[in-house]
C-alpha cells in the first residue's frame, strides 16, 4: 500500500525481533506514523490539524473518563455533582474546564482540518473514502458534543435538548412518537439524561475507531499536499518520522499554548451564562442558543421561515440543516475538476474564500436572536451556502481554466534551483 521506497522496519534488538514475530504492533506503528510512511515534503502548517484533532480527542477521553467518576447522571443531582467537581474534587475544576474547552478546541481544529481539505481538494479521487470517513467523524462529534452539553443539566442543557430533539417532531406523522421514544418521555428528563450520558461515553470510542479507518484509508494513496500533484518519486517525500513528528511536535506545542490560555484565563468565555442556572422546565430562557460550533447550522435551521411547496417551514429547516452536512458526502462527485489544489484554480479559490466568509457570517447569525435584520441576512447566507456546494461548484468545475500545474512536488519546492545534492555538513 505504501510507496515502494518506504523504509522497512528492521528491528535490531532481540526483544523487538521477538515481538515482531509474535505481535507486529511496533511494525504497524512504524508504518503508520513512523519512518515507514513516506509523506510529501511540502506540507504546510495546515497539515498539522489532523494530528491535533487526534490530540484533542485524547484530551477529551482522558478528562472525560475521570469526570465520569465524579459525575452523577440523574436529573435531581447532575447540576450539583458538576459543582461538586468544581469545588470539592482535587483539580476537578481543571478537569471540567479542560473537558468543556477541549470540546471547543476539538471543533476549532476539525473545522480548520475540513477547510484545509476543501481548499486543497483533499476530498477528490483517490481520497474520497478518507473524506467520507471524515464526514462520519464530524457527525459523530456533533452528536457527542450535543449530548455532552446536556449533562450538566443547566438551563441551556435542558432547552438545547428540548430544541434539538424537537427536530424529530417536524417529521410528518411518525415524528412525535419518534421524539418521545428517543427521549423516553414527553420532555427531556431523567430517562433522556441517562441515555445521553451512556451514549456520550460510548461515541468517543466509536470516533476513535473511525479515525483508525480514516488513517488506514489515507495511507493507501498517501497524503495530499499543497500543490495537489501526486507524488512521483522518492525525491518528493520524506519519512513521517522524524520530519513530520518534529513538525507536529511544534504544532502541538502551539495548540496546547492556545488551549491553556483559554482554559486557565477565560474558561467560561465560550460557554453560555445560562448554563450556570439549574435546568428549569417551567422557565424558558430569553434566547436559546447552542454552543458556538453549531451556530452556522442553527442559522440554516432558522432561516426557513415560510412553508414552500406544501412542505412546512419547520421541516424545511430540519431537512436543510441535515442536508448542509450531508452534502459533504457527495462533494467528491459534485466537484468534477481534476485539479485538486485551489492554488491552481483561479475561480474556485475565490469562491472558497467567499464560502469561508459565508460560514462565519452564518455563525454570527446563529448566535444572534431571531429578529431583523439577522433573519434576512441569515436567509441570504444560507442560500449562498447551498448555492456554493450544489450550483456554483458543478458550474465552475466545468468552465474554469486551471493554471499550469508543476511537474512534481520537488519542482515546485525548488523553483528551478538545484536539488540539494550536497551532503550534510558541506552546505553553506
Amino acid at each position: 500500500m505504501s510507496f515502494p521506497w518506504a523504509e522497512h522496519y528492521a528491528p535490531k534488538h532481540p526483544f523487538m525481533r521477538w515481538m515482531d514475530e509474535k505481535l507486529p504492533l511496533p511494525r504497524l506503528v512504524y508504518n503508520a506514523v513512523g519512518a515507514g510512511y513516506p509523506v510529501p515534503r511540502n506540507l504546510n502548517y495546515f497539515w498539522n490539524f489532523g494530528v491535533l484533532a487526534g490530540a484533542a480527542l485524547g484530551i477529551q477521553i482522558l478528562t472525560g473518563i475521570i469526570l465520569a467518576m465524579h459525575y452523577a447522571a440523574n436529573a435531581g443531582v447532575a447540576f450539583d455533582s458538576v459543582e461538586h467537581i468544581m469545588r470539592d474534587v482535587n483539580s476537578g475544576w481543571l478537569l471540567r474546564y479542560a473537558h468543556a474547552n477541549g470540546a471547543s478546541f476539538f471543533f476549532i481544529v476539525v473545522y480548520l482540518h475540513i477547510f484545509r481539505g476543501l481548499f486543497y481538494g483533499s476530498y477528490k479521487a483517490p481520497r474520497e473514502m478518507v473524506w467520507l470517513l471524515g464526514v462520519v467523524i464530524f457527525l459523530l462529534m456533533m452528536a457527542t458534543a450535543f449530548m455532552g452539553y446536556v449533562l450538566p443539566w443547566g438551563q441551556m442543557s435542558f432547552w438545547g435538548a428540548q430544541v434539538i430533539t424537537g427536530f424529530f417532531s417536524a417529521i410528518p406523522v411518525v415524528g412525535e412518537p419518534i421524539r418521545v421514544w428517543l427521549l423516553g418521555g414527553f420532555a427531556p428528563d431523567n430517562a433522556a439524561l441517562n441515555r445521553f450520558f451512556s451514549l456520550h461515553y460510548l461515541l468517543p470510542f466509536v470516533i476513535a475507531a473511525v479515525i483508525v479507518l480514516h488513517i488506514w484509508a489515507l495511507h493507501i494513496p498517501g497524503s495530499n499536499n499543497p500543490t495537489g500533484v501526486e507524488v512521483k518519486g522518492p525525491q518528493d517525500t520524506v519519512p513521517f518520522h522524524p520530519y513530520y513528528t518534529a513538525k507536529d511536535g511544534f504544532g502541538l506545542g502551539v495548540f496546547l499554548l492556545c488551549f491553556s490560555l483559554l482554559l486557565f484565563f477565560a474558561p467560561n468565555a465560550l460557554g453560555h451564562p445560562d448554563n450556570y442556572i439549574p435546568a428549569n422546565p417551567l422557565s424558558t430562557p430569553a434566547h436559546i442558543v447552542p454552543e458556538w460550533y453549531f451556530w452556522p447550522f442553527y442559522a440554516i435551521l432558522r432561516a426557513f421561515t415560510v412553508n414552500f411547496l406544501w412542505v412546512p417551514a419547520k421541516l424545511w429547516g430540519v431537512v436543510a440543516m441535515f442536508a448542509a452536512i450531508a452534502l459533504l458526502f457527495f462533494l467528491p462527485w459534485i466537484d468534477r475538476s481534476p485539479v485538486r489544489s485551489a492554488n491552481y484554480r483561479p475561480m474556485y479559490k475565490w469562491f472558497f474564500w467567499v464560502l469561508v466568509a459565508d460560514v462565519i457570517l452564518l455563525g454570527f447569525i446563529g448566535k444572534s436572536p431571531a429578529e431583523e435584520p439577522y433573519v434576512r441576512i441569515g436567509q441570504f447566507a444560507a442560500a449562498y451556502y447551498f448555492a456554493h456546494f450544489l450550483i456554483i461548484l458543478p458550474i465552475i468545475s466545468r468552465i474554469e481554466r486551471p493554471l499550469a500545474l508543476p511537474n512534481s512536488i520537488t519542482e515546485s519546492v525548488l523553483h528551478g534551483e538545484a536539488e540539494e545534492a550536497a551532503p550534510l555538513g558541506q552546505q553553506a
Binding site: 502541538l252 506545542g253 429578529e371 552546505q427
Partner: protein, 279 residues
C-alpha cells in the same frame, strides 16, 4: 448514478433550497417592535476587582466585607446553597470565627426531633452549607410577591456581565424616566416591582436591598457607602461562584511558561531536523 450527481441532481436540489430561502427572504414581515427594554436597558458599569486578569488574586479584606453584606442584608431572601460555612476559612476567617458565625446564623438547619421524628431545626455547624432563608420555593414566592430570589452561589457566572452586573444592579435603582413613560405609556412599572435599567426587563421584583449608606457597619472600619457595599458583595459573590480562581491563575501561569519553553525547543528541533530539506 454518481456521474449524474454533479451535473444534474446537485443543482436541482440546490435550487430547491435556494428558492425556498428566496421566497422567505422576500416575504414581508412585521416591523420589529421597539420596546422599552430595547431603548432603556443599560449595560453594567465597569467594575475592577483584584481577582481580574491573569494574575488576579482575591482581596480577602474585601471578601470578608462582602460576606458581611451578604449576612446582614441578602441572606434574608437569598440562599447560598453551594457554599459551606467552613469555606469561609479560605477567605481569611479563623476556625473559631467560622464556628461562631455558623452557631449564630439567623436561619437554622432543617432537621428532625430525635425523640418524636417531627420536623425540627438545629443550630448550624461549620460543615453545613448555608441554609436557605425559606423552607421551600412556595414560601419564598409567598414572601416576595410571587418572585423567587435566586440562589446567589453562582450568580456572577450565570449572568451576562458577571460581577459588574451585580454591582450595577444593586445601585441601579431609580425612578422610571419620564421620557420612557412618554414613549411607552404601557410600560409603567407595576406597583409591586421596581425600576432598574440594568435588569433585563427593567422591572425587578427585588426591593432595593442597599437603600442607604452605612446600612452595615464594617468590622474593618471601611466607609460603607452604597457603592462600596455593592462592590464588596459583588467581589464576595465572585468568590462563591469560582472559589478555585486563584489555583487556576497560579496553575495557568506555570503551565503557560512551561509550554512556552517546550514549544520553543520543539520549534528548534523541527528546524534542525528539516535543515537539510528544502520545503
Amino acid at each position: 448514478m454518481l456521474r449524474f450527481f454533479g451535473p444534474f441532481i446537485a443543482p436541482i436540489v440546490g435550487l430547491g433550497f435556494v428558492l425556498a430561502l428566496t421566497v422567505a427572504f422576500f416575504m414581508p414581515r412585521e416591523a420589529a417592535q421597539v420596546t422599552a427594554q430595547h431603548e432603556f436597558h443599560r449595560e453594567p458599569m465597569e467594575l475592577h476587582l483584584a481577582s481580574d486578569g491573569p494574575f488576579g488574586r482575591f482581596d480577602r479584606q474585601q471578601l470578608q466585607r462582602g460576606f458581611q453584606v451578604y449576612k446582614e442584608v441578602c441572606s434574608a431572601c437569598h440562599s447560598l446553597s453551594l457554599v459551606a460555612f467552613h469555606d469561609l476559612e479560605q477567605i481569611g476567617f479563623t476556625k473559631a470565627e467560622v464556628k461562631a458565625i455558623a452557631n449564630q446564623w439567623a436561619t437554622e438547619q432543617p432537621s428532625i426531633n430525635p425523640d418524636t421524628g417531627e420536623p425540627a431545626t438545629r443550630k448550624n455547624l461549620a460543615s453545613d452549607k448555608f441554609p436557605s432563608p425559606y423552607a421551600n420555593e412556595t414560601a419564598a414566592r409567598a414572601a416576595n410577591n410571587n418572585a423567587l430570589p435566586p440562589d446567589l452561589s453562582l450568580i456572577t457566572k450565570s449572568r451576562e456581565g458577571h460581577a459588574a452586573y451585580v454591582h450595577s444592579l444593586l445601585i441601579g435603582y431609580q425612578d422610571q424616566p419620564a421620557e420612557l413613560l412618554k414613549k411607552f405609556p404601557d410600560a409603567k412599572t407595576p406597583p409591586s416591582l421596581h425600576y432598574n435599567p440594568y435588569f433585563a426587563n427593567l422591572n425587578i421584583a427585588m426591593p432595593p436591598p442597599l437603600a442607604a449608606d452605612g446600612q452595615v457597619t464594617y468590622a474593618d472600619g471601611t466607609n460603607a457607602t452604597r457603592d462600596q457595599m455593592a462592590q464588596d458583595v459583588a467581589a464576595f459573590l465572585t468568590w462563591t461562584a469560582e472559589p478555585k480562581l486563584e489555583n487556576r491563575h497560579r496553575a495557568g501561569i506555570a503551565v503557560v511558561l512551561f509550554l512556552l519553553v517546550t514549544t520553543i525547543l520543539a520549534y528548534l528541533a523541527y528546524r534542525n531536523i528539516w535543515a537539510d530539506k528544502k520545503h
